[in-house]
Amino acid sequence: MALVPRSLAFDLTRAEVLATGNVVPDPARCVQCGICSYNCPLGLDVRAYAWRDEPIADAHCLTCGQCVARCPRGALRFAPTAAQKRGGC
């Protein structure tokens, strides 16, 4: 499966996410195939977060986007976390 080509929009989103958010799963789309965990360069168990419906809150997450780009179900996206949303506005 090809990586989604990086675009300016992607990089800007990522920069924003680094500052204010996380990778966030949509468990309704996830089938626990594990492609996300397999492709995480830091070996984070992204799939386990998706099962629990929690943002990938691990301080080690680089928001590199490997999991977001490779998930065949579009179950992961970059988003501001609820805590930051509340704090920010």
Binding site: M1, D26, P27, A28, R29, C30, V31, Q32, C33, G34, I35, S37, Y38, R47, A48, W51, P72, R73, G74, A75
Partner: protein, 441 residues
């Protein structure tokens, strides 16, 4: 006395139930019985293992330590008999277990080949990890392979075998791919992608028989007398709920085990969840079958609540599946309906919902840009279904609007206008709707 919960099936429905039971009843005895020695793994992930996107050991969402921490009694054996009056379950090795509450989460299996020669060596279906291993072992570079069937699994088999270097012929009985869910252009997108990969598609092609040499499949003969040589014949023509155990206990069944919205079957203290369960849906007044991962998980969790004494109705959300259809990310939501009959599927297929086939929309709206495509099904007042191919940004708003049966009358006329900017209309409407909706109690 501690409660004794027994779960038959270690698929996602069974495991979701076991986890929820443990959270609700820390001291209870929870027994999980499965006839699959591989235990709990991602069944949809088998397609990605086949395509070599992940290694086999990645298919297991739970480590042995995590499973141990749940404190389950795990028995790898087939359950063969049920006596609901005595609250007894019999295993193939002769053991009899007693339960207070029993959950049947026995899943569904691939429909067997419906032509002579289906029992030859080299004829395969994709159900279990063992099936996938077998296919991987046989799929060598240059191996001629035939795939037959019309749903997602057949497509995944065709792509997986291609990825493993097989020379793939894909046989469709009808005139296009997955006709009862996709419309003609969507089928065309999928078929175009397959052709570009070098997969040969044969339309209007029905297998008369599989022919063998020394017990091994060597070719298929089609109804028109054509012969296609193959060393692998992969069949994905639908699935069948595994009902044997429920029937041995005299439970009410139709195509699945009939269950009310609390997942309770016709027998006291016996519940059903997942692919095997045909669950009553208050909204339609009918009992429906899905073979969807997310549905199975939600069934399992709701059943655990009922089993521990908090009867909890399974609230059927809109049926949704997200999948790669020939490389194109695709979300199918709610009631779709392509063109009615699909001769490729004799039953419901993997990753499929009966809901998709029951669409009787008044209008259909389409917006298309090469592989980005959105098709909306709507009636007088609301969206009833949608298919989003390519760009997935509209999938979430549509899922929300369809699930909530949101009143879309304010944009109804605009959507139906010639050349309407469908994506923009829906996106704008969703933002406004969400703001008001969020304020509701």
């Amino acid at each position: 006395m501690t409660a004794r919960y027994v779960i038959v099936g270690a698929g996602v429905a069974g495991i979701a139930a076991a986890e929820r039971l443990r959270a609700l009843a820390p001291a209870a005895s929870i027994m999980v019985i499965t006839d699959d020695p591989a235990g709990f793994y991602s069944r949809p992930g088998l397609a990605y293992f086949l395509s070599d996107l992940i290694p086999e050991d990645q298919l297991f969402p739970r480590s042995p330590a995590e499973l141990r921490a749940l404190g389950l009694t795990w028995i790898t054996e087939r359950a063969v008999g049920l006596d609901p009056h005595a609250h007894h379950l019999t295993l193939a090795d002769g053991r009899t277990l007693t339960y207070d509450k029993l959950l049947l989460a026995t899943g569904a299996t691939a429909a067997p080949p419906d032509f002579p020669g289906g029992d030859l060596d080299g004829v395969v279906t994709l159900d279990s990890l063992e099936d996938a291993r077998q296919i991987v072992r046989r799929a060598r570079r240059g191996t001629p392979a035939v795939v037959v069937g019309g749903g997602i699994t057949a497509l995944e088999l065709a792509e997986g075998l291609h990825a493993r270097g097989c020379h793939v012929h894909y046989l469709l009985r009808g005139d296009r791919y997955w006709a009862n869910v996709l419309d003609a252009e969507e089928s065309q997108l999928v078929e175009g992608h397959l052709r570009a990969l070098g997969i040969h598609i044969h339309h209007h092609t029905r297998i008369l028989q599989a022919l063998g040499e020394r017990g091994r499949v060597a070719s298929v003969e089609t109804a028109t007398g054509e012969r296609i040589a193959c060393q692998l014949l992969a069949v994905a023509i639908g699935t069948r709920p595994r009902l044997e155990l429920a029937r041995s206990g005299g439970l009410a069944t139709e195509r699945g085990i009939l269950a009310d919205e609390y997942l309770e079957t016709s027998a006291a203290d016996v519940l059903a969840a997942g692919d095997v369960a045909q669950v009553y849906d208050e909204a339609t007044g009918r009992a429906t079958l899905d073979t969807l991962w997310a549905t199975a998980r939600a069934h399992g969790a709701a059943a655990a609540m009922t089993m521990t004494g908090t009867p909890t109705a399974y609230r059927r959300s809109v049926a949704q599946n997200v999948t790669l259809l020939a490389g194109i990310p695709t979300t199918i939501i709610g009631a779709m309906g392509g063109s009615g009959d699909d001769t490729d599927l004799v039953a419901i297929a993997r990753g499929d919902s009966e809901r998709w086939r029951t669409a009787l929309p008044d209008w259909v709206v389409v917006e298309q840009h090469t592989v980005n495509r959105v098709r909306l099904m709507l009636n007088e007042r609301a969206l009833v279904g949608a298919i989003v191919m390519g760009d997935q940004r509209l999938a979430y708003p549509l899922q929300r609007l369809i699930a909530a049966r949101a009143d879309i009358t304010p944009i109804h006329a605009a959507l139906l206008a010639d050349g309407a900017p469908v994506v923009q209309l829906v996106a704008d409407y969703f933002s406004a709707w969400e703001r008001t909706y969020a304020k509701q109690p």
